[in-house]
Structures are given as structure tokens and as C-alpha cells.
Assembly symmetry: C2
Homo-oligomer: 474 residues x 2
């Protein structure tokens, strides 16, 4: 089906990046920046389109990997960030938020209005609040919360660049709350997820880097670390991917795996990350009712004196596949260098009219509507558009409909000028409609900027309801 054709991965030989993502973004009008909000790129419709396709792609994968989305606040009181440790350890990177009533500008400000908030740099503390809401049993784990919230980190303004060094960004963030014995399978699944996503975009090769227990300072017991690191090592071995070890380079609160992606220029990017955390569960006093097996095992690993003997602490896995969506977008922009795969392209096709004959313009409008996914070929033909479009009663479109942003150029300019303009704008396809196309009810497609022609032809022929013919394609 059309939908299934969408996700064909791109060719394994991506074009060599020729320019910076900021330059390439201008061609496709993806985003702008503003001095009114340095480091917070404003995504134009085309940029928002790509962003949302990336988000929708990951969302479509979440059910098979057991992730559930949650929606959490943007600001939390200082006391939450003190509990999580961010207020002190992450101070310079955080923004503080105050009701303007708190500054004395509002008369009769009420109690609590004066309390300071922190603009969230991370989702983890919010997810801990959700986990803590109801008592969990060992059977409920793992619980996997995913969150696409906007995050803010106060980078110095001199360092801000395009989509890569920003103050406001979105992560495909998730936190897995699992039992210690579930670490292996969770890491294996996460590595599979990473592989599937990077394959889909034709990204790679990448290498995996394991950072282990620091010698000086760490929380938890050596046994806990050893057991966790053994599971991470097994997962890495089972992944069949190249991996290396960074002895002692883990954070004090847990070991981690970084995914280091090599782009077509050989430049390395740290994108995805998988970070174990023994600390936040303690800080937020998270626990679950232990299993019979856990109750029989020695209790070295629990926080003595704090935790009820029948409970255990979960481990938190912080994980992101894209990392920052903005940065991942920048990476893809350079990776594709203007030749986006059809399903992701903000300019999949433009229809050019050869002249301005009313019949021809009607055919153009019909084709645009069909190719956009707004009406299907069976429902109507150009000649019947007059009756069928009853403007007072729009029909709800199903949630699963794929809409493509198909443009038209029906201006009075010469076809040559229109084609030149469309090529400059790097549409994947340029479709020319002249009198013969009107007669045959067909299209003439000029293939351009398209890494996977076969997939596109399949989509087009499905939309047209027939096989593409040789004279359809120039």
C-alpha cells in the first residue's frame, strides 16, 4: 500500500554533504532564527513538516517497543530541582521562572505566587513523579515513559548555531523504570531500536561506547555496578555491532552507552545515548514491591534503613534514539544534502501547468488534491469535482491519512522558468501538465533530487490508481 511504501530506507550510498545545514535549510525554507529568542529556532512550515515526520516515525515505533507517551510540565518549583540535584549541579544551564506578580508588579500577590520555578532542562524528574503516583509491583516493570517536551538549557549566546547549538530543543526522550534483572533485555531492545532507526535513514556506520564505573566516586555497591556492566556488555556483544570501552568514564550515578555516528565526511557525532541511573530512584524514593526471588536474595543492594525490606529500588534507563530532534534534523539535512526521501521531503512534488486554460487548471487542481491525499481517485474525477465538492459539509479525514504537501505553479510564466524555479527549490518531482495529460488523465513526471525512485513511482502509481507508463516519466 501507499503507507507501506513510505518507509523504504534510502540508498546505502548517501550523497556526500556539500554544505552546512544552515545553508541547505535556506533552499527548503526550513527555519529562521530571531534575536528575540536566541537559540530557539523558529520552524517554518517546511521545517515543522520534517520535524513532525521524524516525530511521527518514532511514535509509530513506540508500541512495538513498549513505550507509552506522557505529557509533563515545562516549569517546576525550585524544590523539585533541588530534590533531583539539578538546581545545584546544573545551575548555570538552567533558566529560572517567576510569576511577574512575584517581582512586586502585581498588587495583592498571594502566597506561593512568589516562589521561583525552573524551566526544565530534562524530563526525568517529572517522570519520577508519574512513576511514584501509584505503588508498583515487580510485575508492573518495566515501565517506559516517552516524552517529546521542549527542553531549555542556557547555552552562552556566543555558542549558538542554527539547529545544532540551541537553547531550546526537543528530545525523543524516554525513561525506562526496570528491575535490576531486566537491564539486559531493555538494553538489547534499545540497541535494536537504534539500529532500526538509523538503518531507516541510511545513517551510519556508528560505534558503541561503554563507559564504566569511575574509580573515585560512585553511588551504589560494586556488586550493583558489576551486575549492570555485565548486562550492558552482554547486550553489546549480542548487538553484533562494533563497540569499545571507556574504562572508568561512567557518571557517578551509573554506566552508559553512547552511540557515535560517523557522517559521510567522516565527522563523528554523539547522537543516541543510553544511561543507567542508580541515583534518581534514591532521590525520589522510588520503589516497587519485590518479587519472591528478590526477597530471597541477599539485600546488599538496597538503601539500608530507608527502604522497606519488602521493596526494591528500580533502575532508571535514560535513553534517546535521535537525541535532540533539532540536532538530528541538522544531521539529516547534511546527510541528504537536499535530496530527501519522498516520505520525509518537505517538497515531494510540484505540478506545473503548461498554460492557463481553465480545463487544464481544473486538472491541475484535481491532481494536487489526489496527490496530496485529500481525495481519492475513486471518489471523483476532474469532471465531477463541481458536484462533489459541497463546501458547506467538509468530511472529517481519518487520522491515518498521509497528506503530502504537493505544490502547484499555475502562474503565467513560461514553462522553462517554472521548471528552473522548481529545480532551484529542489522538489523531488516536477510534474508537468499540458493538454495531452488532461486528455489522458495522466501525469508527466520529471524525476529529480530523489534518492529512491522506485519507492516514489510506487507511491505515484498507487495514487493514480494505475501503473506509471514510460511517457509519464521524463
Amino acid at each position: 500500500s501507499v503507507q507501506n511504501a513510505q518507509l523504504n530506507s534510502t540508498s546505502s550510498d548517501p550523497p556526500t554533504p556539500t554544505a552546512d545545514h544552515r545553508t541547505l535549510s535556506q533552499t527548503h525554507e526550513l527555519f529562521i532564527t530571531s534575536p528575540y529568542s536566541p537559540g530557539s529556532p523558529l520552524l517554518l512550515p517546511n521545517g515543522a513538516y520534517v520535524f513532525q515526520k521524524l516525530q511521527a516515525f518514532l511514535r509509530a515505533q513506540y508500541p512495538q517497543f513498549g513505550f507509552q507517551e506522557v505529557i509533563t510540565p515545562t516549569i517546576y518549583k525550585k524544590s523539585l530541582w533541588e530534590k533531583s540535584g539539578h538546581w545545584d549541579n546544573y545551575a548555570e544551564d538552567m533558566f529560572s521562572v517567576q510569576g511577574r506578580g512575584a517581582t512586586g508588579q502585581t498588587e495583592n500577590a498571594e502566597v506561593g505566587q512568589n516562589e521561583e520555578f525552573g524551566l526544565k532542562p530534562m524530563n526525568c524528574p517529572g517522570h519520577c513523579l508519574l512513576f511514584r503516583d501509584e505503588i508498583k509491583s515487580y510485575r508492573d516493570l518495566p515501565i517506559r515513559y516517552a516524552d517529546f517536551s521542549a527542553l531549555h538549557r542556557n547555552e552562552v549566546s556566543g555558542a549558538l548555531t542554527g539547529l545544532t547549538r540551541v537553547r531550546r530543543f526537543h528530545q525523543d526522550d524516554a525513561h525506562i523504570f526496570c528491575r535490576p534483572d531486566q537491564i539486559l533485555s531493555e538494553i538489547e531492545n534499545t540497541l535494536r531500536f537504534v539500529g532500526m532507526v538509523y538503518d531507516t535513514f541510511g545513517l551510519g556506520p556508528y560505534k558503541l561506547l561503554l563507559s564504566t564505573r569511575p574509580t573515585d566516586q560512585f553511588i551504589g555497591t560494586i556488586e550493583e555496578w558489576d551486575r549492570a556492566e555485565q548486562q550492558l556488555t552482554s547486550a553489546l556483544n549480542n548487538s553484533g555491532r562494533e563497540w569499545a570501552i571507556n574504562e572508568g568514564d561512567g557518571a557517578f550515578y551509573g554506566p552508559k552507552i553512547d552511540i557515535i555516528l560517523k557522517d559521510a565526511n567522516g565527522k563523528e557525532h554523539q547522537t543516541a545515548t543510553i544511561q543507567l541511573d542508580f541515583q534518581l530512584p534514591q532521590r525520589f524514593d522510588l520503589y516497587y514491591q519485590a518479587s519472591p526471588e528478590e526477597l530471597e536474595a541477599p539485600t546488599k543492594t538496597r538503601d539500608e534503613g530507608v527502604l522497606d525490606p519488602s521493596n526494591r529500588r528500580p533502575v532508571i534507563v535514560h535513553r534517546a534514539i535521535y537525541g535532540s530532534l533539532e540536532r538530528f534534523m541538522a544531521l539529516l539535512i547534511e546527510h541528504y544534502a537536499g535530496k530527501y526521501p519522498f516520505w520525509l521531503s518537505p517538497r515531494p512534488a510540484i505540478i506545473l501547468s503548461l498554460n492557463q486554460d481553465p480545463e487544464l487548471l481544473k486538472h491541475v487542481a484535481y491532481l494536487q488534491s489526489v496527490l496530496s491525499g485529500l481525495q481519492n481517485t475513486e471518489a471523483s474525477s476532474p469532471s465531477s469535482t463541481a458536484q462533489q465538492s459541497e463546501p458547506s459539509k467538509p468530511r472529517p479525514q481519518p487520522l491515518s491519512t498521509i497528506h503530502l504537501p504537493i505544490d502547484v505553479d499555475t502562474s503565467a510564466r513560461s514553462l522553462g522558468k517554472k521548471i528552473a524555479d522548481a529545480q532551484k527549490k529542489k522538489y523531488n518531482h516536477i510534474i508537468v501538465i499540458g493538454p495531452s495529460e488532461v486528455q489522458s488523465g495522466g501525469v508527466r513526471v520529471e524525476l529529480a533530487n530523489q534518492p529512491n525512485e522506485e519507492a516514489t513511482q510506487r507511491v505515484l502509481s498507487e495514487v493514480l490508481g494505475r501503473e506509471l507508463q514510460s511517457n509519464d516519466i521524463k
Copy 2:
């Protein structure tokens, strides 16, 4: 198809609301609140599911109404809010944001790091920045930017309640930048959009309320107001809906239409709003290159001395169909009173096993996978799951896949207890699997809490790949 079955509107006789949305939300575990962020509800997986279905539904309609989504910053410098007028006129409702380096806690804070930001209460100024980015011609209009960004307004904490009185919320916000002569068609289309959406949810009746030019203070000329109000009146007349006039009750910057919805208790809610704005285009110096007709018309309407004679100011239409998504969710929660339509339900179905026989559990897992949309019936049958599930190679799911959150209860408890529990949780369907279902490869469905049985049966039979039989349904 399954997809088309999704959007069947619910029965026209919704159940009478029996309880407050906060009570009903507990049954379905939709959200929690936290003292760490008063007025920012935390959406649990079920709440986020409903929220996203509402968002996805509106997104699916945007292309046919010509809206393009954009993504804009959360914080802007004070100077932007001064330009827009919010810093002064909206002072008490706004939060101010500062890099913590600005408070003197960071050494060597750089210039500009000390500047204050405002947390956005509205999207309009950001959309003005996007509009202004490139010079527009009269042919480019209307331009319609939609934005689901999180917004913050500093309500006093005593007033905060559930999802209805909040500090942080999301609007299905949009701004239409149009020529003055396009007001009629834009308002007509917006009213059609409102009608389609409210019909889909079985909401209504509602009435439309036009607020016109205040006598005392207003910007723009009387001619501009008269022309705009004439177009709004025509649109209201053409809508075929009940409407009334609030003479002189418009804002100083433009007339508006409010949509007043009556719920099953007869209580009125102001939900959607359509607000014309002559002011922001002036404050942001927005203009487009006038059409030949406009150039010939008298120039009374342009800001004398500011605007180039060949340019004109667009009108901005602020519009929201749901209004606040959180508040709209609260309204729907009470409207459906636990009986969500299948496509929107966070608990569409649960599968209960009659016993714990391994073959039976395998069939349950298979059915869960099929009903969830994770695998199709043709691809495999329960007996072949062993070979087909090759865990190292997950397949990317197409973006159009509809995933349903189908739960299972395979615990050792008695079937009676499981059913009672499932009924308490108000699943739309309770599916019981015993040995005979395993043999026949079928299901036995207990219909419950389901306003539109027919639609659901269609979905189920499509998923199963056959007509439902009488013994399938209890």
C-alpha cells in the same frame, strides 16, 4: 477500512454527565497534579493518549483547510512582548524567565545573558516574526499558521482546578494572515471547520456570538470595521447556525465571534474563538504588496506615513477550534462520562484469559498483537509466531499505522474477578479467551461502555479478517 471506521461520530444522544472530570479521570487514570507545578497537569499514558488523538484528529484536518503547522519558541525577550503589547497589558498573567547566570550565580556571565525573557502566553507574536521573514505578495495570502505549543498564563494558585483552570496548556492555535477582502471566506471556512469538529464529537448545540466595534476606543477606521463586520455577519448568516450580536463588545483591536457550547447539563462553555486583529499587523509592521485592485482603491485604510503606498496591511485572524486542549479534554471527559468512542478511548479493549494454559496464553498474545495493530492477520498465525518473531530485526512500522492500546489480563485470578476489574476500569470491550476460542481462532466480546457498537464491530471484524459471528458477542 479500519481507518475510515475510526471517525464515525458518536450517537447524537450523549449520556448525561454524572460527575466532574476530575473524578471521571481517576477511573481511566488520565492525569495527576503535583505541588511541584501547580496548574500544570501531568498526563499519564492514558491521558496523553487521548490528548494525542485529539491533536492527531485536528492535524488530519489541517491540509483540507489550508493550515500549515509551525514550531515556535517558548521564551522570547522582554522587548518582543513590549512590541506586541503583552508586557504591559498582560503583565500579571505572564511569567518572566532569566538565565540563572543573570542572577549573579554564574561568574563571567556574558553580555545579553542578563536579559529577561517572557514565557509565552500566546503564539501570535512568534507567528508575526515568521510572516515577516519574507516579503509577501497579495497572491501569497491567506497564510495560515497553526501551532500546538505549550502556553503559560499565571493564574493565581487558588483558582487552579484539574484540566479546566490551569497555568500551562496547549491550544489548537492558528493565525490567518489575510487581505481585508478575504475575511468572509476565511470566517466561513473556520465556521465550517468548527461545525465538522463538534459534529464529530457529538457536541452541541452551540451558538455563535458576534462582538462588534466598541464606541469609545478602537484602532483602525470606521470603514475598516464596517467592512469587516459586514463580512462576519455574512459568514454567520451563511453558516445556518443560531447567532446573536453583542453590540460594542469587541476588543479595541477588532471584532470577534465566540462559540458558546451547551453541555448535557445545559451549562454553557466558551470554547472556540475567532478574533480579528487590526493591531498586531501595525505593531509588527506586517505588510504585503498590494494587488492592482487595491492600488486603485482609496487608501484610507493604510497607516499614513508609515506604510509604503504600494503595500497594505494584512488582517490577522486568531482562531482556535478546541480552544485549550486540556479544557476541551475535560469537557469531553464529562460529555462521554467514561464511554469514549472506540477511536478515542484510552481503554478500547482488554483480553482476559480463562486459564493459564500455554497454548491459550499464546493465542492471547497473538490477539493482542493483532488488535493493537502490531501485526496483521495475514503475516502470521499464533502457531507460526515462533519463527516469525526474529527479535534482532524489528521492522519499521509505517506512519499511518493505527495502534490501539489493547490490554491483557492473564493473571491466575478467577474469570469473574477479572471481568469485574475490567468493568470497573470501563474498557469499551472485554474479550474473553477460553479453549474454544483458541480452537476456532476467534474471540468472545463483551460489549460495554461503548456508545457506537456498530463502528467497533466493524473494526474488530476487519482486524480478525472475517465477519463477527453471533457467538463472538455476548
